[in-house]
């Protein structure tokens, strides 16, 4: 679909599913309208701009590149993403950044329940409110929330944000024209579920 260095504009995407999947060449793709499920998923390199809303799993498993959606993104935005930057101009649905393995997911609005579920690496910034069970079972990675947190998930905990981190977050937001946020709550893994509490004799002898 896309070649290296090309700039492609897709008119009337009509919220179709699977638009711009697995594109590996450095190019720019602009969707003028809303896209369906799995838009710009499995991306490795391109810059994708969506003028509208996106369905489920926008940017799923992206390796590198940039995605920006001007309005809302459905469930599982940025799921399993391993690199790059994904920006949501409106709200994100449930399971935003689920099983993330790297990269940066930025949501200008609110995010739904189980945001950062089983997150492994990377960074999620939610400027608004985060839904229930935030960061449930996360392994590593960091979630920053500018608004309220409905509840923390299993093994997620709040940690004090350093000045340096806050400056990083604010700089990332400034790139997207967001200047009005000044404070964030930082959520990380409490790491209490990393291991089984007890081991059988053979399991112990293996360690």
């Amino acid at each position: 679909m896309a070649a290296k260095g090309e700039e492609i504009t897709v008119l009337n995407p009509n919220a179709r599913h699977n638009l711009g999947v697995a594109i590996f060449d450095m190019c720019t793709i602009r969707f003028e309208g809303s896209v369906g499920y799995y838009a710009a998923s499995m991306l490795d390199g391109p810059e994708v701009v969506i003028e509208g809303n996106a369905g489920w799993a926008l940017g799923e498993n992206m390796m590198a590149g940039k995605i920006s959606v001007s309005k809302n993104a459905g469930a599982s935005v940025g799921s399993t993403m391993r690199g790059g930057e994904l920006f949501v101009g409106g709200d994100a649905g449930a399971r935003a950044g689920i099983s993330m393995k790297g990269g940066s997911l930025i949501v200008a609005g609110n995010s739904g329940f189980l945001t950062g579920f089983m997150m492994q690496k990377g960074r999620i910034i939610i400027c608004g409110d985060a839904g229930e069970a935030l960061g449930d079972s996360m392994y590593e990675g960091t979630i920053y929330v500018g608004g309220s947190i409905a509840s923390l998930g299993a093994d997620a905990t709040i940690e004090e944000i350093s000045e340096e981190e806050l400056l990083d977050v604010l700089a990332a937001l400034r790139d997207h024209g967001i200047e009005n946020k000044r404070s964030f709550t930082k959520v990380v893994s409490a790491k209490k579920l990393y291991h089984y509490d007890t081991l059988e004799r053979l399991e112990k002898s293996a360690l």
């Binding site: 699977n18 697995a22 391993r82 509490d197």
Partner: protein, 433 residues
């Protein structure tokens, strides 16, 4: 004095209670179910007599070539035998084991499959035909690897532990295994049970289309199901657009699972195949959507019976590992000292202390498995299975293993008759109908 022992409170039951009384959690082990369930041994072939003629058992041509996933894929998976090696992760297995399996698959013109941990480059290099799994965890998932695969398998469930995700104890989450999975070193990994990006069958249809887009509609997309609610699941997977359905039964192997799941969930292989076949037939997709059976396939007779019941191919895991020397005392090993049991009784894959270098990440233990020698043993084993299949097929007067059919079989037990929907020997009756 009254003598005897309780069947309900057997010694191993008491040992289990003693262990849990210490542990305070479910027990974990590898291998396969210990349940005595209806299996292929409960079926027998009705070879030729006067009503039909056999082919020369040792010589005449008998086709084993198998085509999987020709419904939508431009390049279906073509195997020289209906037996391929199922998904087992690099992590659960050593790199040498994965490479040996890949080489073996190439030697016999078949395929190997990645597993829950991403693609090991060594296996990719060794295996001409590689099935790339898409699992709920997406550990190491890389669209470039996906695009280079010869088939893709979306894993919904695994027979040994349906309804839950993979497990890898911290002893194995080390070095590049942890790095490939993007996990902290040494954690007890419990993989997600649900896919992160889709939930129900309607979503699965979109997911399958996404994978077709990512692979340019070239290769088949399989859906692997843990055999439980087979009728519904097979229909939903087929309607979602799967080219092939892998039905993995309760006796399938695992590198690590909660024992309660291994022993108390899923259904056996025989009824799983029959239910899947009938579900596809009801949709008019039997013979179009490929059916792959896995779980407890030990030899050519099991594989032939699976095909007679309706499978197009079988996938083997544990059998291939046993061919690699699993549960065999070798000059370098000492099972009683190293793993606490005699060879033949080991099911401790999860401890990472595999004395024969298969289910371990220990660099010293891993050296006990030579990938070239291991590949040769696995290739010999699968070749033997294929020859056993053709021998049986010819004895039934057929020249293609895919011509085997249910009427070639009889059931030896009432249960097998009911589950396989095949008459009980000595009767014309299919029990349960």
């Amino acid at each position: 004095m009254v003598t005897g022992s309780s069947q309900i409170w057997a010694p191993w039951v008491m040992d289990d209670i003693h262990s849990k009384a210490e542990l305070g959690r479910y027990r974990i082990r590898g291998f396969s179910s210990f349940q005595n369930v209806t299996h292929f041994d409960d079926l027998t072939f009705l070879s030729t007599g006067l009503t039909r003629f056999p082919l020369e058992g040792y010589k005449e041509r008998c086709n084993t070539r198998t085509v999987i996933g020709g419904l939508n894929a431009e390049q279906p998976l073509v195997l020289e035998t209906p037996i391929y090696i199922s998904g087992m992760s690099y992590g659960a297995l050593s790199a040498n084991a994965k490479i040996a399996l890949g080489k073996a698959a190439t030697m016999i013109g078949s395929a190997s499959c990645t597993g829950d941990g991403g693609m090991l480059q060594g296996e990719r290099d060794a295996s001409d035909k590689l099935v790339y799994q898409v699992l709920p965890s997406r550990y190491g998932f890389n669209p470039h690897h996906l695009a280079g695969a010869q088939a893709v398998e979306i894993v919904v469930g695994q027979g040994a532990k349906p309804g839950t995700g993979g497990m890898l104890m911290g002893i194995k989450v080390q070095g590049d295994v942890a790095e490939m999975r993007d996990l902290p070193q040494g954690i007890d990994q419990r993989s997600p049970a649900r896919h992160p990006d889709w939930l129900g069958p309607d979503d699965l249809a979109v997911k399958i289309e996404q994978i077709r887009e990512a692979t340019d509609w070239r290769v088949p997309v399989h859906v692997k199901l843990g055999a439980c609610r087979v009728d519904d699941d097979v229909k939903l997977a087929a309607k979602a657009g799967a080219d092939a359905i892998v039905i993995d039964s309760m006796v399938a192997g695992t590198g690590a699972s909660a024992e309660v799941l291994i022993e108390h969930s899923g259904i056996p292989t025989v009824p799983a195949i029959v239910m899947a076949r009938e579900a596809l037939r009801e949709l008019g997709l039997y013979g179009k959507v490929s059916l792959i059976a896995s779980g407890g396939i030990r030899h050519g007779a099991d594989a032939a019976k699976a095909l007679a019941l309706g499978a197009d191919a079988v996938a083997i895991g544990l059998g291939a590992l046993i061919a690699l020397n699993c549960n065999k005392e070798i000059p370098e090993s000492n099972f009683p000292e190293e793993i606490g049991v005699e060879a033949g009784l080991c099911h401790h894959c999860h401890t990472g202390k595999c004395p024969v270098g298969i289910a371990t990440q220990d660099p010293l233990l891993t050296q006990r498995l030579d990938p070239d020698e291991g590949a040769e043993r696995v290739a010999n084993y699968i070749n033997s299975m294929t020859m056993e299949m053709t021998l049986l097929t010819r004895s039934l007067g057929k020249s293609d293993v895919h011509s085997l059919e249910p009427e070639d079989l009889a059931a030896l037990t009432l249960e097998a008759s009911a589950m396989a929907r095949i008459p009980l020997v000595g009767t014309n009756k299919v029990f349960g109908e």
